[in-house]
């Protein structure tokens, strides 16, 4: 009887789980709740601290602005475009591409380029 109850319980859980699964076709992979086809940048690691940018700027866009020196994590949900994160220096240094966010990848912790991005180019 105990086994039957356990089996029944597992069945119920399985059915419930299956129901949840089927009822949630949109439960896609979305770090930071970033919309499909957009790039999202965040103030803190792990896509936290609020959006600094949420943009669907197309390839060829230049100087897509973001609050200076705050970006810590980001999610590129564009299927085709690479977002180049630029650190804008003044003389004598050059502007530099601190990081590239490739299509359909995300960076929860930007150790190397943390807090130094000033704007983006999209390619």
């Amino acid at each position: 009887m105990k086994h039957i109850r356990k089996g029944l319980a597992l069945t119920v859980i399985s059915i419930a789980a299956a129901g949840i699964w089927q009822a949630s076709p949109a439960a896609a992979y979305v770090p930071g709740n970033c919309e499909v086809n957009e790039f999202c940048g965040f103030k803190d690691n792990l896509y936290k601290g609020g959006f600094l940018i949420e943009s669907a700027a197309p390839a060829g866009s230049n100087h897509v602005e973001i609050a200076d020196n705050l970006l810590s994590s980001g999610n590129n949900r564009s299927g085709t475009n690479t977002w180049l994160a630029i650190n804008d220096h003044s003389w004598p240094q050059d502007d530099e591409t601190s990081w590239r966010f490739f299509p359909n990848t995300a960076v929860p912790a930007m150790t190397g380029a943390n807090d130094e991005v000033d704007w983006f180019d999209v390619r």
Binding site: W21, P25, A26, A27, A28, Y29, V30, P31, V36, N37, A56, P58, A59, G60, S61, N62, S78, G79, T80, N81, T82, L84, I86, N87, H89, W91, P92, Q93, D94, D95, E96, T97, S98, W99, R100, F102, P103, N104, T105, A106, V107, P108, A109, M110, T111, G112, A113, D121, R123
Partner: protein, 297 residues
Amino acid sequence: MRKTLAGLVLLTCVAGCNGDPASVSVSQTSKQAFLALTAASPDLANAEQELTRRCLVRAGFPDVPRSTSSAVDTDLLGYPARLSASQVSVSGYGSSIRRDPSSSTDPQGSYLESLPSDRRAAYEVASVGGIADTSRVTLPDGTIVEAPKSGCVAQARTTLYGNVQQFLLVAYLPQTALKEVNGVSDADELKAVRSAYKACMKERGLEVGNWQDGVKQAQEIYERAPSPDGRVSGQEILIAVADATCRDKTGLVAAYDRVVQDRAVRWLASNETQVLAAAEARRAAEKRAVAALSSGS
């Protein structure tokens, strides 16, 4: 175009700068592996896009547009610091100047907006998987990168690279190297050569703040009066020739190389194993990419 001067120097140095620091030993094999890893690969980028598209077609999305982006910009060799005066006297800064108009529309975005909300949700699941399940890699500098483990994007990457983690390593490892050489252009050792370069440009009637300003000025000139056929203007050639001549005359690039070299070689020495593994994974992926693109199905 931007920043890639430091990346360029890094690559050039690992390819064969003289006088590697005596305390650091890096094999020629590793240097070549790193060069291979950092070169652009249109085949890889195109194959990933195409395999993803084919998968989405099989999943019931037959109208997914083909990619029209410039593929993945992974080529760190972009800055024209190595172009000679004779080269730029013919073609100016060449491809370092953006001569195509910026896109005003995004085919994928337009496609997604055309889908009803339930179809759009289904598209997302087909594209990047149905659960919050990702593959993660921690890079040598501690940066964490991740990507979907399921869905058509992950399938395409798995087909090409063996698994998603390999893809992440191949794509992102070279970027941690850039960090090592970013910002060295203000090194004290370069102060004299920077001043000499500026003075040289001024003698030719050009005011520049730094050695990328020639390219920036040429880009602005082009954007003010773009040529329908991408033709290079006389003004751009004048700037580019002065730039190349002054770089050569003052030894600016060579001086920069010397400052960067030590950091570049040290980075490679401390990441040799990962560089070799990633380069091997990329070589295999490139072969699969060519096969995938030629198969047409």
